[in-house]
Symmetry: C2
Subunit: 194 residues, 2 copies
DNA sequence: AAATATATGGACTGATTGGTACATAAAAAA
DNA sequence: TTTTTTATGTACCAATCAGTCCATATATTT
């Protein structure tokens, strides 16, 4: 036996960064290998193919809280409105400053109806976001912050859609003020002011 | 002189379909030429490069009402709510049935901050959508369908964001019923029921 | 009808694509 | 220490990539 000289997790993480920035087709093996810091031999022994690596990178993105950082901290905030606001604030910051959008959302558009494996990962990821939001809203409903009788599942889908819509709008027109106003409008239906 | 044997506009339209389905990198010249029905010689004489063709395809998409069909009919509907509802209904239909999303939105994510030429076309296209929505809302405000004092610019940005968000959500989770509920939620803030 | 000018298709280019084969290196097991 | 087993780097592969070149075809102009 001979031990592996690289850290698989770290390699996937580095590859993810490349896929995130350049997309699947845009990322060449040469570039990926350079980012991972390994040679072809090691790569194909460990991962099998570029496509397989991409799936791993997507899963890594989904499972390491890249969608929204500090999700637990978010859901532990006192008021749901704060949590959700914070989620969108982070989103705007990333959209404007880092010019990065959710890798899963991009994958959803790139592979729509073409790759069942990608579809499953994306579906799970989006469901995860919806579920996290739903949990926040549920607590809020329990404490009276949100009125009884409102359909929280629909609301969390609604917020998820808004989450992605803002990324596309921000990609096309990176104007912070505009995005903030849109967010305020989005939230006004979840948390009416009067 | 020798006259051109193909219709430039038609060729661009055909190429657009390929780019629309497969993206920039995903569309090979071989495929594009086949769709356009011309040879390499003619192509490079007429268009110069793949990138140039892509820009033309994007402009074509933007300028031929691919975003939402029958835009004039939409804005001539009696009630704004009907028009906007129709816009989103068409969107859901296309998202679910044809699995096609707005080419400009995809371009915005694919090229964000990387290609100024693409950025300009996308920006114009999105502005065009916002403007069309704004016009509908303006008429609605004039007739009292929308209350005075509401910021229509923000509302139209909000609806545009929703427009794109629904495409991503629908790409990830193609469930018609869910999308319809989300649309209902989106519209409820623009047109409150009571 | 001859001259001109441009469109056309196909052969060809070098670079790059993702992926394979294999000889060697090295660590664990014996 | 020797054997075994796997990791590694490199040379190599066919296929495909976008793009060039050019001889030929064809329409317009004279």
């Amino acid at each position: 036996m001979r031990t592996r000289e690289f850290d698989t997790r770290q390699a996937i993480s580095n590859a993810m960064e490349v896929f995130w920035r350049k997309g699947y087709k845009g990322a060449s093996m040469t570039e990926l290998l350079a980012a991972m810091g390994i040679g072809k031999g090691s790569f194909y022994a460990a991962f099998g193919s570029k496509h397989e690596l991409y799936l791993q990178a997507l899963r890594h993105f989904r499972d390491t809280g890249m969608l929204f950082k500090h999700s637990t901290a978010l859901s532990e905030a006192k008021f749901a409105q704060e949590s959700i606001k914070e989620l969108f604030d982070q989103l705007i910051k990333r959209t404007i400053n880092e010019q990065k959008t959710c890798m899963l959302g991009k994958a959803a558009l790139d592979f729509r109806g073409q790759d069942p494996q990608v579809a499953e990962i994306v579906d799970m990821g989006v469901s995860q976001l919806e579920k996290a939001i739903l949990e926040i809203l549920s607590k809020a409903q329990a404490t009276g912050e949100i009125a009884e009788g409102r359909d929280l599942k629909v609301l969390s889908s609604y917020l998820t859609a808004a989450f992605y819509g803002i990324q596309v709008l921000g990609g096309a027109k990176p104007c912070r003020e505009n995005l903030e106003q849109v967010v305020a409008t989005v939230l006004s239906i979840v948390f009416p002011s009067e």
